[in-house]
């Protein structure tokens, strides 16, 4: 059940597919050399491999406990968190002016993948802090930033996001938590929040809650929501944790997975809070951090898939059963020599590479959108990032579930036994398609706002890029690449057709086809990026740069993806174009089991 961070895979994806160099070229990160990338990834890998990963299974078995409003996390979590803080990892992608490392977000994304592979439960703590830091940078007052950012960026304090209430899940506008002015610039926050990840724990000395609430006489729905900062301990005059605030954990959820992550019910009883940004503009602040939060959850899908994959791969090399055609040596042969097992592993691996590439591409474009000196280029990157975010979130997390499920299957009966560890990944992976906007919500975002923005420009640009790669593959001297093009070309045709259909469809029809549309977008974009990687690998081969075997394997993996996922992609057109009428016309009776 060990984990080795796939540093070389990650670097190839970052550098050869997502073009990390373009971030360096902006000049916004003067300290950030190619050598530093390697060093940072290797250091992060050590922490994840050696410190965090070994805690994953025991933490699942032990879980968290709540007593007198205090949560005890699993054994080893506080010590591992201390190591995380010691390495300064929480600040990787934040400015040196707040004590961060000042590196690109794309590297933060790579760190995030390793953290999530090592332990989803553990990784959620830092993930939530990342989001809060972004909100404070963008919307906090100077005073708030000075007081809180250094502590959260160092990891000494952690942070949470408080949105959900029992009646307000996907429908955030339905929330009821209240904030009333105290008269001294602070607010009294009261209400109950559920599903608060790392809402209470014993790893950091203070916890800073970002809480969505309504002020008196605020408008109904999302337009009347404000964002508040509510610290567990109110900082004293020297900025240290002071008086205990009126917020506490009153319950822990009994979940199917991520047992090591405390999912709290939080009670706010006239807790002292401070408004972040403007009144009634809480949703805007949420949107600021939404892109990176959703991307991070997508990366979580990649991370859990990679972990499940590594475990299945190791098992398949060891476990011997039956006679495999073509295998050398006496039977029983390792099950990895059986074609059907090899097929599962190859598909898992190829799809993980595709999802990783989608996430890193989105992250690099996010960096460019923020830092590119050319306004048009920055706008292009912003559009690409915006388009990719819902795909990265939904496609990668569905993939996490699929790969974790295949991981169980490869283990046979042992996969169903908890001690093996494969089952934990299957249980843990299942949350990611749900939180941070369900995958259905992501599909609505993609087929609605993202499809429409600037008259469909983002999709047009994506399709143009894919067609360019079709051409690059067609004209390659390596005959494997035109074969990739032969699969990518009809797939991008289907995507273009789907975009046109969606753009002219009624809202209900569009919504009915949105999930299949997102899947098609992900299938094709993932395949495209693997082809981009294959083109880069071919260049390496030609220039005798690096490990030839590794480069050949990138091309081979793209081929497997092309023959399976890309070949099947146009088949999604039926579901995309089905429309809402067949779902609604027969009425509810059609759905009643009778």
């Amino acid at each position: 059940m060990s984990y080795r961070a796939p540093v070389r895979d990650i670097r190839f994806s970052l550098e050869e597919i997502a073009a990390l160099d373009s971030v360096r070229a902006t000049g916004a990160f003067p300290e950030f050399s190619g050598d530093l990338t390697g060093a940072i990834l290797e250091e992060a890998a050590k922490l994840c491999n050696d410190v965090i990963a070994p805690l994953n299974w025991p933490s699942d078995q032990q879980g968290c406990t709540l007593k007198d409003g205090e949560v005890k996390t699993p054994d080893g979590f506080p010590a591992a968190y201390a190591k995380f803080v010691e390495g300064g990892w929480q600040g990787l992608q934040f400015g040196t002016e707040h004590g961060g490392m000042g590196l690109p977000r794309a590297l933060g994304c790579a760190l995030m993948e390793m953290l999530q592979s090592a332990s989803m439960s553990f990784g959620l703590g830092p993930m939530l802090s990342f989001g809060a830091i972004e909100a404070l940078i963008a919307h906090g007052s100077d005073e708030q930033r000075a007081l809180y950012l250094p502590k959260i960026i160092s990891g000494e304090w952690s942070a949470t996001m408080n949105l959900t209430e029992p009646q307000a899940g996907s429908d955030v506008g339905a929330l009821r938590t209240k904030a009333e002015p105290n008269g001294d610039g602070s607010w009294a926050v009261s209400g109950q929040k559920i599903f608060i990840t790392w809402g209470e724990h014993d790893c950091a000395e203070n916890i800073i809650h970002l809480v969505l609430a309504r002020t008196p006489d605020s408008p109904a729905g999302t337009k009347g929501i404000s964002l508040f900062l509510v610290p567990k301990f109110i900082p004293d005059e020297s900025g240290n944790p002071g008086k205990r605030n009126g917020v506490k954990a009153i319950g822990l959820e009994h979940k199917m997975g991520i047992h090591g992550s405390p999912t709290c019910t939080m009670e706010y009883a006239n807790a002292t809070g401070w408004l972040i940004g403007e009144e009634n503009r809480g949703m805007a602040a949420m949107f600021t951090m939404m892109n990176s939060a959703r991307l991070n959850v997508g990366v979580q899908g990649v991370g859990i898939a990679e972990r499940a994959y590594q475990q299945a791969f190791e098992f398949a090399k060891e476990r011997r059963q039956g006679r495999a055609p073509g295998a050398e040596g006496p039977a029983p042969h390792a099950i990895i020599d059986h074609p059907d097992v090899r097929r599962m592993l190859s598909l898992m691996k190829a799809k993980i590479e595709a999802a990783r590439a989608i996430c890193f591409h989105a992250a690099v474009e996010g960096d460019l959108a923020e830092h590119h000196g050319d306004e048009d280029e920055a706008a292009w990157s912003r559009r690409r990032e915006e388009l990719l975010i819902p795909v990265a979130k939904a496609w990668s997390t569905d993939l996490g579930v699929e790969v974790a499920s295949l991981g169980v299957q490869i283990h046979g009966g042992m996969g169903f036994i908890e001690e093996t560890g494969a089952a934990q990944h299957y249980r843990d992976a299942r949350i990611a398609p749900i939180y941070e906007g369900t995958n259905g919500i992501q599909a609505i975002d993609l087929s609605g706002r993202k499809l429409s923005m600037e008259g469909g420009l983002a999709f047009a640009e994506l399709i143009e890029d894919i067609r360019q790669t079709v051409e690059d593959c067609e004209t390659s001297s390596n005959p494997a690449l035109p074969e990739l093009a032969a699969r990518l070309a009809p797939a991008v045709d289907a995507l273009e057709e789907a975009v046109q259909w969606m753009a002219s469809a009624d809202m209900e029809d569009r919504l009915a086809g949105s999930t299949a549309f997102l899947k098609l977008t992900g299938d094709v974009t993932g395949g495209w990026l693997l082809c981009v990687g294959a083109v880069a690998a071919q260049r390496r081969l030609k220039e005798a740069e690096g490990d030839a075997g590794f480069a050949e394997n990138r091309i081979a993996l793209a081929g497997i993806y092309a023959e399976t996922v890309l070949a099947a992609a146009p088949g999604l057109m039926g579901e995309i174009r089905m429309g809402a009428a067949p779902l609604f016309e027969p009425g509810l009776a059609m759905l009643e089991s009778a």
Copy 2:
């Protein structure tokens, strides 16, 4: 979390799709009228709805315990089992000469679905006894049948199957358990068996273990395996449980799901056993019961999917979030009015109907194979049954996982909380693609033996049947049916092409494409059977027979399946024809995470 057996759906599938009447027409079941079908199903539904289903969630939480070799099952299981015995349900499909009800296996299949929906953990006990009864009927001596069958058929005694050992899972031939002659006609059985479902429990007064073992000097591999009957208590002279035998449970597995089902490690220490059938012919006896065991596991996939579906459907009607386009009344609207949720539910329902139809079709053909007076007809039915068994097992159990996962998704955050119950279905469902021959083994069976038998006759007959239904739909006066035909026709073309490709492919290539080939076979066969149902529904509409709304819904569900699953089916050709070379040529390095 309640369950209502879908008696009308089941009857429609049995009678209008699987043609249960043809079993009546054999004359082998003189007592078996149409009225009786309804009465039996309604009675079985009562037991499952009211007695067993309420135990499902508590039994998951409580699990089983082992102390001093004795297993305590969850509270309520022994009492529910007593009700099951009282109703005579264990004997539903077995001859009246042994105390059974003498009804067709197809009805047993319907009972099995309800039992599994009510509780997979509970349903496994009776399922294992079914298999042992079949083995004894086919291979037991007169004395063995007289002594054991009435007790197992009544349910007073239960039975188990003991195949797996740590080194012998899919590779049964690797087993090492030994049997040595005692000199008095009995044998001394010694060894350890793992993953023994209901191997020890407190519901029946005796447990009859069927055990695969090797006799001295037996040939290696599967040709040297014999089947033994080893009772927990050796029957005394009057046939009652007597001396405790040398077999006991020494461990219980800590599993991801089916916590109410005791999965035991069994130790045989010179346990007294009796040979069933001939020495070294144990695998043949296994094959006798394999068809129905695999079908029953397929039905388990249907059962867990139906349960997960019902729960998600009820939740989606109650839970209100956001504004749904086209919904009436003030927001928030029920999430079932949101197109994407409606899409999930519609697809779940349509696919469940397809899987149910595949299973019932296989069961009816099994009955006909056994009882049809005409030898050619019986042979035709046997071929069809044989072809469908791996599809029923693998396709339906993959579906069980998929539907249970969608069930979690529809619940949103609540789906991940154990108390909601949706998570249990997701955990329970995961075992079915693994046991009774992994789904990979099923795919090998389908693309190997089943494809080849009698020169490919079984597939040729299936394709012929499907083409007939295409024609029936094309010529219907209801315009919805030619639309079904327009999707079914290219799907069956793809199936035919795939069959031809597989039939002429090298063994390794065939194995590499086998899972995709099974999926295509299931997708197309399921769609075909829904179209058969649509044709029957259209006949009912025309003849104003029965509930028009119900008939219209059958056509609408077939339409949803056609636009989604059938439309996508030809897209599987790429994976089917990929071959083994891309998986093996690059060597293991391609799969190494680096």
